[in-house]
């Protein structure tokens, strides 16, 4: 459910900017979400179709019918054809990436599934933000990114870029973002082996499972620890390992090894006993250090006595 909500949220934002170019996407999602009436965050809505046709959003949906506060600008202030084309492309790819991300949220598959989408999105953004002049000697960077206070395109891209950064996906995919790299593939094979093993012995007594799957699990765990050290991990792997570890330790209860409490207690109580012996023996056997008192030279006391009597009199 929540996936859809966010999807809708994203879409609504997009709808605000792109009028005609996005109609297809809107249609797809609108029909998609019309089946599940949702609560969009922050306002009441009665299904997405209602949102689309609500007066607030109308201008964005249908530009021909817009009642802008300002009527259209003269030619030279409007963005160029090239730039609006770029913008349109950006929108398409943005939606595509988001569409990919959301179903991959749990269990996390964002790197494995969505890396190519991110790549294509960032390509467009690089084009937009490059300071090279396009056809007609226009720089889209200024007209799209920096013309207003909101800097919407920049913000939008920034959001997704943060997601990408946080997910550490570049550690797991090949240089051209086409698919998982070798390390990841190897890890995934091991993971699959382990999971298969778990599946196989899941029924019945878990001690069997612990015994039989130990090797694969341990191999996987070691590989993971190694990768952790090299910091070649992305969120997919971290998540999958977390789940596996949880299965292993919590659900199957395989990691608890104990039962040697007695030697530990013995050794520690021996060590804790040593200071008592030490202090007792040094109290009993070491000779106490004595201080020799020195008697300072003082004035004869009758002086002071006289003195005080003088004062009193």
């Amino acid at each position: 459910m929540s996936l859809h909500r966010y999807e809708l949220g994203f879409l609504l934002i997009i709808l605000n900017i792109y009028s005609l170019g996005l109609i297809d996407a809107v249609n797809v999602t609108a029909s998609d979400s019309a089946a599940n009436p949702l609560q969009a965050p922050g306002y009441q809505s009665h299904g997405s179709s209602a949102v689309v046709s609500s007066p607030v959003y109308k201008p964005a949906v249908d530009s021909s019918y817009s009642i802008n506060l300002l009527s259209s600008f003269p030619e030279d202030v409007e963005i160029s054809e090239y730039c609006s084309e770029l913008l349109r492309l950006f929108g398409q790819r943005y939606v595509a990436y988001v569409n990919c991300l959301i179903p991959a949220a749990r269990p996390v598959r964002v790197c494995q599934n969505c890396s190519p989408w991110y790549n294509s999105l960032s390509e467009v953004f690089v084009n937009i933000s490059s300071d090279q002049l396009g056809p007609g000697n226009v720089s889209c960077r200024d007209s799209i990114l920096r013309s207003d206070r909101l800097m919407l395109v920049f913000l939008l891209y920034g959001n997704l870029d943060t997601i990408w950064e946080k997910s550490n996906c570049e550690k797991c995919v090949t240089k051209d973002f086409k698919g998982p790299n070798n390390d990841t593939l190897y890890y995934l094979t091991l993971l699959n082996q382990t999971i298969t093993c778990f599946e196989k012995y899941k029924e019945g007594n878990h001690t069997e499972l612990c015994k039989n799957c130990k090797n694969t699990y341990k191999e996987l765990n070691d590989l993971y620890s190694g990768m952790e050290k090299n910091s070649t991990l992305c969120i997919d792997l971290e998540d999958s390992m977390n789940m596996t570890r949880k299965l292993w330790s919590k659900d199957f209860g395989c990691s608890y090894i104990g039962g040697e409490t007695i030697p530990v207690i013995a050794v520690s109580s021996f060590i804790l006993f040593l200071p008592i012996i030490f202090y007792l023996s040094s109290f009993l056997h070491s000779e106490q250090k004595k201080r020799k008192l020195i008697h300072p030279k003082r004035a004869k006391s009758h002086n002071s006595l006289m003195n005080i009597q003088d004062k009193q009199s």
Binding site: V267, L274, S286, Q288, L293, P296, R298, S304, L305, N307
Partner: protein, 799 residues
Amino acid sequence: MANITKKVSWSSRGDESGAAGEETPLLNGSEQSRPLRQMSSGSTVFQIGRLSTVDLEEEITTEEDSARGRPKEIPHNEKLLSLKFESLDYDNIENQLFLEEERRMSFMAFRCLEISRWVICGLIGFLTGLIACFIDIAVEQLAGLKYKLIKENIVKFTEAGGLSISLLLWAALNSFCVMFGAIIVAFFEPIAAGSGIPQIKCFLNGVKIPRVVRLKTLVVKVVGVIFSVVGGLAVGKEGPMIHSGAVLAAGVSQGRSTSLKRDFKIFEYFRRDTEKRDFVSAGAAAGVSAAFGAPVGGVLFSLEEGASFWNQMLTWRIFFASMISTFTLNFFLSIYHNKPGDLSNPGLINFGRFESEAMEYNLYEIPLFIAMGAIGGGLGAFFNFLNYWLTIFRIRYVHRPCLQVMEAMLVAAVTATVAFVMIYFSTDCQPLGPDHTEEYPLQLFCADGEYNSMATTFFNTPERSVRSLFHNPTGTYNALTLGLFTLTYFFLACWTYGLAVSAGVFIPSLLIGAAWGRLCGILLASTTSTASLWTDPGKYALIGAAAQLGGIVRMTLSLTVIMVEATGNVTYGLPIMLVLMTAKIVGDYFQEGLYDLHIKLGSVPFLHWEAPATSHWLTAREVMSSPVTCLNRIEKVGTIVDTLSNTSTNHNGFPVVVQVSGDDEPAKLCGLILRSQLIVLLKHKVFVELARSRLTQRKLQLKDFRDAYPRFPPIQSIHVSQDERECMMDLTEFMNPTPYTVPQDTSLPRVFKLFRALGLRHLVVVDDDNRVVGLVTRKDLARYHVGKHGLEELHLAQT
């Protein structure tokens, strides 16, 4: 040559001494030097009351007999003053040599002196920063190695079984490190034990603690602290930094090292106690500044704990040294962390930044903070109380070096064991964070992907533990873990302080406080339903740390500033200040601060800010030592040698007197000469007869005295032949012709004020005719203190 005849006197009465004649006849001085007698004024602590003068006399007569027979021996206690401590000569000796030298110096020379003072302060800061950097890196590397080793071992044995072996390994490694650290302290330089702050405090107060600012002490201190921190003791490396800075300052300002027998022939002007003191206070400030990244705190520390003598220019110079020190450390640590030029790494302990929104506090939290301050004061007093008894036991029974080493090793082993047992039986498992704030996460029996929460507090250097207590997000520790940790660490830290290892008490106090402070935060959060108000226990950890530290060491001004600077957040100024005030008030109600306690237990004649209350009725006559061993202005060498060689009375200052007329007339005061000066004179054989025979003999200069400073040879090492014993010495040129004097009726607080404000070492008590009747020294003043039964007197003792 101006013949100084002016007398500085603090009485309005006549001080016209008999005019010191130019042609004083060579008198045989032996008759004038008073016989050295021992007088007793009671050998037990007795109460001095206004009405007890008659009793006093009786007591003396009854006890004199027993005291005469054999020196009385008593076990060590806090009510003693040790004979081995002497005063420093903070008062300038304005003798003729000094005046001559000053006349010779040009205006430029004085400017150069001022500049070289700045240069020295810069050097002090720089070198202190370097030392701090060295300690930091060495500790990090060695501790990293140790923890890695133990962690691997534990991981290995968690599965295979046999964790008791890991325990033994941990205990053995700790003991081994601590053994090394304790051996160098106990056998080579016992003065380097502890944090060094009490010693520096005494030094700046004017007490000459033997060997406290030697190079050897510095080396032992630095190496010792590295090993005791690596050895996993409940100690920090901050206190020793202050001592290290002070030693560095004392060394650098002298331009030579007597230990290394190297004289760089620079900064010769600064070779006297007064100048050295100023630099030592700069060094202590630089040490604090390097330790906590708190330059202003360092200056204020010097002001609060140390310097009894203060002026603006000095403050400014000290501030300069502090600033240089913290930024030197900064710079070199940035290189070490591969971020050269990044100057945001101040201080050995970095509390991290308290800047997030959750760290904000509100008005209604202030009472809570104050309550925590009260808890801190109470706990601190309890800590000091326990440590007091432990220290007395140690002084009495554990005084042999090998025993001290054994004790330190045992403490190390027990610390490791306790930590291990706590970790072993802890069931508090937390998931590994994404950013890995834990340096050495220990899994032990936790599920995979989780770590043992107890281990982050114990299995770590104390600095890191403090930081994780301050900054780890809510829920990192559960209440039971923190409670147990506080309890055990409290006793461990208390047990550890006072061992023969070089180590400070700042970090353990902060750690204890941070643990129970965080506990308070967690409990508060759990009691209130509106959890959002009490979200972050980190700030309670900070307040708890401040409270605990304030409760133990009882510093106020400097500690507030240090904490504020170390957290980098001025808005915490008010709560920290309130907390420290409360902690001090509550703590002082029960027990003194830890440093004062140790100064007292060390039998140091320490002069506090004020004379003890209710002492105005005591006059100089009762306070002074009498009779005084005086010397004639032209004295026989044999007499001088005999006086100096007398081991029973290790006098240091001798009033110089001049005979006015006949033999029966008592002599009048005309000056004061120090033992050190006499020794230099004897060494150079400045005898009247020799001067006559060898006219070409070089005149003794102030430089000769400076060259012998600060280690004047003992009198035994100076050979005086039988013929020379019959020679005469003219002290006129060398003595201080204008010593401070007071009349007999001056009250104790007045004498005290003079002593404290001027940094005196000897104060001559004279009668109406300017005749010497007594001499007040530091020990005469320091023996009075206010005890449970009013004014009490401390005993002098040989230690």
